[in-house]
Symmetry: C2
Subunit: 190 residues, 2 copies
Protein backbone atom coordinates (compact mmCIF):
# COMPACT_ATOMS: atom_id res chain seq x y z
CA UNK A 1 0.00 0.00 0.00
CA UNK A 2 1.09 3.53 -0.64
CA UNK A 3 1.45 5.81 2.30
CA UNK A 4 -1.11 8.56 2.29
CA UNK A 5 1.60 11.08 3.12
CA UNK A 6 3.58 10.19 0.04
CA UNK A 7 0.68 10.76 -2.32
CA UNK A 8 -0.06 14.06 -0.64
CA UNK A 9 3.40 15.53 -0.93
CA UNK A 10 3.84 14.13 -4.41
CA UNK A 11 0.67 15.91 -5.41
CA UNK A 12 1.84 19.07 -3.67
CA UNK A 13 5.11 18.98 -5.60
CA UNK A 14 3.39 18.45 -8.94
CA UNK A 15 0.94 21.23 -8.22
CA UNK A 16 3.66 23.63 -7.19
CA UNK A 17 5.69 22.71 -10.23
CA UNK A 18 2.92 23.23 -12.74
CA UNK A 19 1.92 26.43 -11.03
CA UNK A 20 5.46 27.73 -11.35
CA UNK A 21 5.70 26.53 -14.93
CA UNK A 22 2.79 28.73 -15.87
CA UNK A 23 4.67 31.72 -14.49
CA UNK A 24 8.34 31.21 -15.24
CA UNK A 25 10.27 29.17 -17.73
CA UNK A 26 11.64 25.85 -16.63
CA UNK A 27 15.24 26.91 -16.27
CA UNK A 28 14.33 29.87 -14.13
CA UNK A 29 12.62 27.66 -11.59
CA UNK A 30 14.83 26.55 -8.75
CA UNK A 31 14.27 23.57 -6.53
CA UNK A 32 13.97 26.07 -3.74
CA UNK A 33 11.04 27.69 -5.54
CA UNK A 34 9.27 24.36 -5.75
CA UNK A 35 9.99 23.61 -2.12
CA UNK A 36 8.65 26.97 -1.01
CA UNK A 37 5.55 26.80 -3.19
CA UNK A 38 4.77 23.24 -2.23
CA UNK A 39 5.52 24.14 1.38
CA UNK A 40 7.54 21.06 2.12
CA UNK A 41 10.92 20.33 3.61
CA UNK A 42 14.02 20.42 1.52
CA UNK A 43 14.84 16.85 2.41
CA UNK A 44 11.41 15.71 1.37
CA UNK A 45 11.78 16.93 -2.17
CA UNK A 46 14.99 15.04 -2.71
CA UNK A 47 13.44 11.97 -1.16
CA UNK A 48 10.85 12.03 -3.92
CA UNK A 49 12.82 13.22 -6.93
CA UNK A 50 16.50 12.80 -7.53
CA UNK A 51 16.63 16.02 -9.51
CA UNK A 52 14.52 18.67 -11.18
CA UNK A 53 14.88 16.96 -14.53
CA UNK A 54 13.44 13.73 -13.20
CA UNK A 55 10.51 15.66 -11.83
CA UNK A 56 9.88 17.07 -15.29
CA UNK A 57 10.11 13.65 -16.84
CA UNK A 58 7.62 12.17 -14.41
CA UNK A 59 5.28 15.06 -14.97
CA UNK A 60 5.43 14.47 -18.71
CA UNK A 61 4.69 10.82 -18.18
CA UNK A 62 1.74 11.65 -15.96
CA UNK A 63 0.43 14.07 -18.59
CA UNK A 64 0.83 12.14 -21.81
CA UNK A 65 0.90 8.47 -20.99
CA UNK A 66 -2.81 8.22 -20.43
CA UNK A 67 -3.64 10.07 -23.61
CA UNK A 68 -1.30 8.01 -25.71
CA UNK A 69 -2.44 4.78 -24.12
CA UNK A 70 -6.10 5.33 -24.87
CA UNK A 71 -5.15 6.20 -28.43
CA UNK A 72 -3.16 2.97 -28.61
CA UNK A 73 -6.33 1.07 -27.89
CA UNK A 74 -8.06 2.52 -30.91
CA UNK A 75 -8.63 0.32 -33.97
CA UNK A 76 -5.58 0.31 -36.16
CA UNK A 77 -5.75 2.05 -39.47
CA UNK A 78 -3.75 0.66 -42.29
CA UNK A 79 -2.60 2.19 -45.49
CA UNK A 80 -5.53 0.71 -47.30
CA UNK A 81 -8.28 2.29 -45.20
CA UNK A 82 -9.31 5.24 -47.27
CA UNK A 83 -10.98 8.52 -46.57
CA UNK A 84 -13.01 9.50 -43.55
CA UNK A 85 -10.45 11.07 -41.28
CA UNK A 86 -13.23 12.12 -38.95
CA UNK A 87 -12.24 9.50 -36.41
CA UNK A 88 -8.54 9.25 -37.07
CA UNK A 89 -6.18 8.77 -34.16
CA UNK A 90 -4.89 12.26 -34.67
CA UNK A 91 -8.24 13.90 -34.37
CA UNK A 92 -8.81 11.77 -31.33
CA UNK A 93 -5.59 13.10 -29.80
CA UNK A 94 -6.45 16.70 -30.55
CA UNK A 95 -9.86 16.38 -28.98
CA UNK A 96 -8.38 14.67 -25.98
CA UNK A 97 -5.82 17.42 -25.58
CA UNK A 98 -8.43 20.11 -25.66
CA UNK A 99 -11.42 18.67 -23.92
CA UNK A 100 -10.35 16.16 -21.37
CA UNK A 101 -7.29 17.81 -20.03
CA UNK A 102 -7.08 21.52 -20.56
CA UNK A 103 -4.30 21.51 -18.04
CA UNK A 104 -1.96 20.14 -20.66
CA UNK A 105 -2.61 22.92 -23.13
CA UNK A 106 -1.81 25.50 -20.47
CA UNK A 107 1.60 23.98 -20.04
CA UNK A 108 2.11 23.59 -23.75
CA UNK A 109 1.24 27.23 -24.25
CA UNK A 110 3.93 28.47 -21.92
CA UNK A 111 7.42 29.09 -23.15
CA UNK A 112 8.35 25.64 -21.99
CA UNK A 113 6.49 23.95 -24.80
CA UNK A 114 9.61 22.40 -26.28
CA UNK A 115 10.20 20.42 -23.13
CA UNK A 116 6.82 18.79 -23.29
CA UNK A 117 6.58 18.52 -27.04
CA UNK A 118 9.83 16.59 -27.16
CA UNK A 119 8.43 14.02 -24.79
CA UNK A 120 5.15 14.02 -26.66
CA UNK A 121 6.91 13.39 -29.94
CA UNK A 122 8.86 10.42 -28.70
CA UNK A 123 5.70 8.82 -27.34
CA UNK A 124 3.83 9.68 -30.49
CA UNK A 125 6.34 7.82 -32.61
CA UNK A 126 5.52 4.59 -30.86
CA UNK A 127 1.86 5.21 -31.45
CA UNK A 128 2.39 5.91 -35.13
CA UNK A 129 4.49 2.82 -35.60
CA UNK A 130 1.74 0.73 -34.07
CA UNK A 131 -0.90 2.36 -36.24
CA UNK A 132 0.69 3.01 -39.58
CA UNK A 133 4.04 1.46 -38.97
CA UNK A 134 6.41 -0.97 -40.56
CA UNK A 135 4.88 -4.00 -42.17
CA UNK A 136 2.82 -2.20 -44.75
CA UNK A 137 3.71 -2.85 -48.31
CA UNK A 138 6.14 0.00 -48.96
CA UNK A 139 3.78 2.94 -49.23
CA UNK A 140 6.64 5.06 -50.47
CA UNK A 141 9.45 3.19 -52.05
CA UNK A 142 11.61 6.29 -52.26
CA UNK A 143 11.21 7.10 -48.57
CA UNK A 144 12.86 5.16 -45.74
CA UNK A 145 10.34 3.93 -43.20
CA UNK A 146 12.17 5.63 -40.32
CA UNK A 147 12.13 8.92 -42.14
CA UNK A 148 8.44 8.59 -42.82
CA UNK A 149 7.62 7.89 -39.16
CA UNK A 150 9.82 10.74 -38.04
CA UNK A 151 8.20 13.10 -40.48
CA UNK A 152 4.63 12.19 -39.54
CA UNK A 153 5.31 12.49 -35.83
CA UNK A 154 7.11 15.78 -36.25
CA UNK A 155 4.41 17.18 -38.44
CA UNK A 156 1.73 16.37 -35.94
CA UNK A 157 3.66 17.86 -33.06
CA UNK A 158 4.30 20.95 -35.14
CA UNK A 159 0.63 21.14 -35.95
CA UNK A 160 -0.17 21.13 -32.26
CA UNK A 161 2.55 23.68 -31.68
CA UNK A 162 1.12 25.94 -34.36
CA UNK A 163 -2.36 25.45 -32.98
CA UNK A 164 -1.27 26.53 -29.54
CA UNK A 165 0.64 29.52 -30.85
CA UNK A 166 -2.69 30.58 -32.34
CA UNK A 167 -4.26 30.24 -28.93
CA UNK A 168 -6.31 27.30 -30.11
CA UNK A 169 -8.67 29.47 -32.12
CA UNK A 170 -9.29 26.65 -34.54
CA UNK A 171 -11.33 23.57 -33.78
CA UNK A 172 -9.67 20.17 -33.42
CA UNK A 173 -11.37 19.19 -36.66
CA UNK A 174 -9.80 22.07 -38.54
CA UNK A 175 -6.33 21.27 -37.27
CA UNK A 176 -6.82 17.61 -38.09
CA UNK A 177 -7.76 18.77 -41.57
CA UNK A 178 -4.65 20.87 -41.98
CA UNK A 179 -2.52 18.06 -40.69
CA UNK A 180 -4.16 15.58 -43.02
CA UNK A 181 -3.60 17.90 -45.97
CA UNK A 182 0.12 17.83 -45.36
CA UNK A 183 0.76 14.18 -44.59
CA UNK A 184 -2.13 12.23 -46.05
CA UNK A 185 -0.19 11.13 -49.12
CA UNK A 186 2.25 9.47 -46.74
CA UNK A 187 -0.42 7.60 -44.85
CA UNK A 188 -3.05 6.64 -47.38
CA UNK A 189 -1.65 5.57 -50.67
CA UNK A 190 -3.94 6.30 -53.55
Amino acid sequence: MMDRRQKKTREAIFNAFTELLSEKSYHQISVQDIIDTADIGRTTFYAHFETKDYLLKELCAELFDHIIDTAMGLPHRHACSYGDESDSVFLHLLRHLRENDRHILDLLASDNNELFLRYFKSELKKLIVSQYGVGNEAPHAALPEEYRIHHIASSFVEAVSWWISHRCKESPEEIAGYFAATVDPLINKN
Copy 2:
Protein backbone atom coordinates in the same frame (compact mmCIF):
# COMPACT_ATOMS: atom_id res chain seq x y z
CA MET B 1 38.26 50.31 -35.86
CA MET B 2 37.98 47.29 -33.68
CA ASP B 3 40.61 46.75 -31.08
CA ARG B 4 42.78 43.76 -31.83
CA ARG B 5 42.42 42.63 -28.24
CA GLN B 6 38.65 42.54 -28.52
CA LYS B 7 38.68 40.34 -31.59
CA LYS B 8 41.15 38.01 -29.95
CA THR B 9 39.23 37.47 -26.75
CA ARG B 10 35.95 37.27 -28.60
CA GLU B 11 37.42 34.51 -30.71
CA ALA B 12 38.81 32.83 -27.61
CA ILE B 13 35.39 32.86 -26.01
CA PHE B 14 33.66 31.45 -29.08
CA ASN B 15 36.27 28.74 -29.40
CA ALA B 16 36.06 27.78 -25.77
CA PHE B 17 32.28 27.75 -25.96
CA THR B 18 32.06 25.53 -29.03
CA GLU B 19 34.70 23.24 -27.58
CA LEU B 20 32.68 22.86 -24.40
CA LEU B 21 29.47 22.40 -26.36
CA SER B 22 30.95 19.36 -28.06
CA GLU B 23 31.60 17.84 -24.64
CA LYS B 24 28.76 18.86 -22.37
CA SER B 25 25.22 20.01 -22.91
CA TYR B 26 24.53 23.70 -22.83
CA HIS B 27 22.97 23.82 -19.40
CA GLN B 28 25.85 21.97 -17.83
CA ILE B 29 28.32 24.57 -19.01
CA SER B 30 29.00 27.32 -16.52
CA VAL B 31 30.37 30.74 -17.30
CA GLN B 32 33.28 29.71 -15.15
CA ASP B 33 33.97 26.81 -17.50
CA ILE B 34 34.07 29.17 -20.44
CA ILE B 35 36.32 31.58 -18.60
CA ASP B 36 38.72 28.82 -17.63
CA THR B 37 38.79 27.25 -21.07
CA ALA B 38 39.19 30.57 -22.84
CA ASP B 39 41.77 31.53 -20.26
CA ILE B 40 40.48 35.04 -19.72
CA GLY B 41 39.53 37.14 -16.75
CA ARG B 42 36.10 36.93 -15.24
CA THR B 43 35.52 40.62 -15.83
CA THR B 44 36.43 40.26 -19.46
CA PHE B 45 33.72 37.76 -20.22
CA TYR B 46 31.00 39.96 -18.81
CA ALA B 47 32.42 42.90 -20.69
CA HIS B 48 31.76 41.01 -23.92
CA PHE B 49 28.54 39.15 -23.20
CA GLU B 50 25.85 40.16 -20.82
CA THR B 51 24.95 36.55 -20.16
CA LYS B 52 25.48 33.00 -21.37
CA ASP B 53 22.26 33.12 -23.35
CA TYR B 54 23.40 36.13 -25.33
CA LEU B 55 26.63 34.33 -26.11
CA LEU B 56 24.61 31.46 -27.52
CA LYS B 57 22.48 33.80 -29.56
CA GLU B 58 25.48 35.52 -31.07
CA LEU B 59 27.06 32.19 -31.84
CA CYS B 60 23.92 31.10 -33.65
CA ALA B 61 23.92 34.30 -35.63
CA GLU B 62 27.55 33.83 -36.54
CA LEU B 63 26.82 30.28 -37.66
CA PHE B 64 23.63 30.63 -39.63
CA ASP B 65 23.35 34.17 -40.86
CA HIS B 66 25.90 33.73 -43.61
CA ILE B 67 24.36 30.51 -44.83
CA ILE B 68 20.87 31.94 -44.87
CA ASP B 69 22.00 35.16 -46.50
CA THR B 70 23.68 33.45 -49.43
CA ALA B 71 20.56 31.36 -49.89
CA MET B 72 18.50 34.54 -49.85
CA GLY B 73 20.47 35.74 -52.84
CA LEU B 74 19.49 32.72 -54.87
CA PRO B 75 16.95 33.09 -57.69
CA HIS B 76 13.45 32.82 -56.32
CA ARG B 77 11.42 29.78 -57.20
CA HIS B 78 7.73 30.22 -57.54
CA ALA B 79 4.94 27.77 -57.39
CA CYS B 80 4.91 27.52 -61.14
CA SER B 81 8.51 26.45 -61.63
CA TYR B 82 8.24 22.72 -61.96
CA GLY B 83 10.56 19.82 -61.51
CA ASP B 84 14.32 19.78 -61.28
CA GLU B 85 14.91 20.10 -57.56
CA SER B 86 18.60 19.58 -58.19
CA ASP B 87 19.34 23.21 -57.47
CA SER B 88 16.61 24.05 -55.01
CA VAL B 89 17.35 26.33 -52.11
CA PHE B 90 17.03 23.41 -49.77
CA LEU B 91 19.63 21.32 -51.51
CA HIS B 92 21.81 24.40 -51.50
CA LEU B 93 21.41 24.69 -47.74
CA LEU B 94 22.18 21.03 -47.14
CA ARG B 95 25.33 21.21 -49.20
CA HIS B 96 26.38 24.37 -47.47
CA LEU B 97 25.82 22.79 -44.08
CA ARG B 98 27.90 19.79 -44.93
CA GLU B 99 30.69 21.08 -47.10
CA ASN B 100 31.42 24.66 -46.24
CA ASP B 101 31.05 24.53 -42.52
CA ARG B 102 31.41 21.14 -40.97
CA HIS B 103 31.76 22.96 -37.71
CA ILE B 104 28.03 23.55 -37.68
CA LEU B 105 27.15 19.90 -38.06
CA ASP B 106 29.34 19.05 -35.10
CA LEU B 107 27.31 21.39 -32.96
CA LEU B 108 24.05 20.18 -34.41
CA ALA B 109 25.05 16.61 -33.66
CA SER B 110 25.58 17.26 -29.97
CA ASP B 111 22.72 17.01 -27.54
CA ASN B 112 22.23 20.74 -27.84
CA ASN B 113 20.75 20.48 -31.30
CA GLU B 114 17.42 21.92 -30.25
CA LEU B 115 19.05 25.17 -29.27
CA PHE B 116 20.51 25.67 -32.70
CA LEU B 117 17.68 24.16 -34.67
CA ARG B 118 15.24 26.57 -33.07
CA TYR B 119 17.29 29.51 -34.27
CA PHE B 120 17.76 27.85 -37.63
CA LYS B 121 14.04 27.37 -38.02
CA SER B 122 13.15 30.96 -37.30
CA GLU B 123 15.68 32.18 -39.84
CA LEU B 124 14.53 29.57 -42.30
CA LYS B 125 10.99 30.82 -42.15
CA LYS B 126 12.05 34.21 -43.44
CA LEU B 127 13.88 32.53 -46.26
CA ILE B 128 10.89 30.41 -47.19
CA VAL B 129 8.58 33.37 -47.15
CA SER B 130 10.87 35.20 -49.53
CA GLN B 131 11.13 32.21 -51.82
CA TYR B 132 7.75 30.54 -51.80
CA GLY B 133 5.91 32.95 -49.64
CA VAL B 134 2.70 34.84 -49.60
CA GLY B 135 1.64 36.37 -52.87
CA ASN B 136 1.30 33.16 -54.80
CA GLU B 137 -2.13 32.33 -56.00
CA ALA B 138 -3.40 30.16 -53.18
CA PRO B 139 -1.52 26.93 -53.80
CA HIS B 140 -3.69 25.26 -51.20
CA ALA B 141 -7.00 26.85 -50.61
CA ALA B 142 -7.66 24.60 -47.63
CA LEU B 143 -4.41 25.47 -45.92
CA PRO B 144 -3.66 28.80 -44.23
CA GLU B 145 -0.51 30.40 -45.57
CA GLU B 146 1.04 30.66 -42.12
CA TYR B 147 0.45 27.00 -41.49
CA ARG B 148 2.03 26.11 -44.80
CA ILE B 149 5.16 28.15 -44.08
CA HIS B 150 5.40 26.72 -40.60
CA HIS B 151 5.05 23.20 -41.91
CA ILE B 152 7.65 23.56 -44.64
CA ALA B 153 10.21 25.12 -42.32
CA SER B 154 9.59 22.53 -39.64
CA SER B 155 9.81 19.69 -42.10
CA PHE B 156 13.14 20.87 -43.40
CA VAL B 157 14.58 21.34 -39.93
CA GLU B 158 13.33 17.89 -38.99
CA ALA B 159 14.90 16.49 -42.13
CA VAL B 160 18.23 17.98 -41.08
CA SER B 161 17.67 16.68 -37.58
CA TRP B 162 16.99 13.19 -38.89
CA TRP B 163 19.99 13.39 -41.17
CA ILE B 164 22.26 14.26 -38.27
CA SER B 165 20.82 11.57 -36.05
CA HIS B 166 21.89 9.19 -38.82
CA ARG B 167 25.38 10.62 -38.65
CA CYS B 168 24.96 12.14 -42.10
CA LYS B 169 25.32 8.82 -43.85
CA GLU B 170 23.13 10.00 -46.70
CA SER B 171 24.19 12.52 -49.31
CA PRO B 172 22.67 15.99 -49.38
CA GLU B 173 20.96 14.99 -52.60
CA GLU B 174 19.26 12.05 -50.95
CA ILE B 175 18.00 14.14 -48.05
CA ALA B 176 16.79 16.80 -50.43
CA GLY B 177 14.96 14.03 -52.22
CA TYR B 178 13.29 12.77 -49.04
CA PHE B 179 12.36 16.28 -48.07
CA ALA B 180 10.94 16.99 -51.51
CA ALA B 181 8.90 13.80 -51.37
CA THR B 182 7.16 15.01 -48.23
CA VAL B 183 6.50 18.65 -49.03
CA ASP B 184 6.61 18.96 -52.80
CA PRO B 185 2.83 19.03 -53.16
CA LEU B 186 2.86 22.10 -50.94
CA ILE B 187 5.44 23.93 -53.02
CA ASN B 188 4.80 23.00 -56.62
CA LYS B 189 1.18 22.72 -57.49
CA ASN B 190 0.50 20.23 -60.22
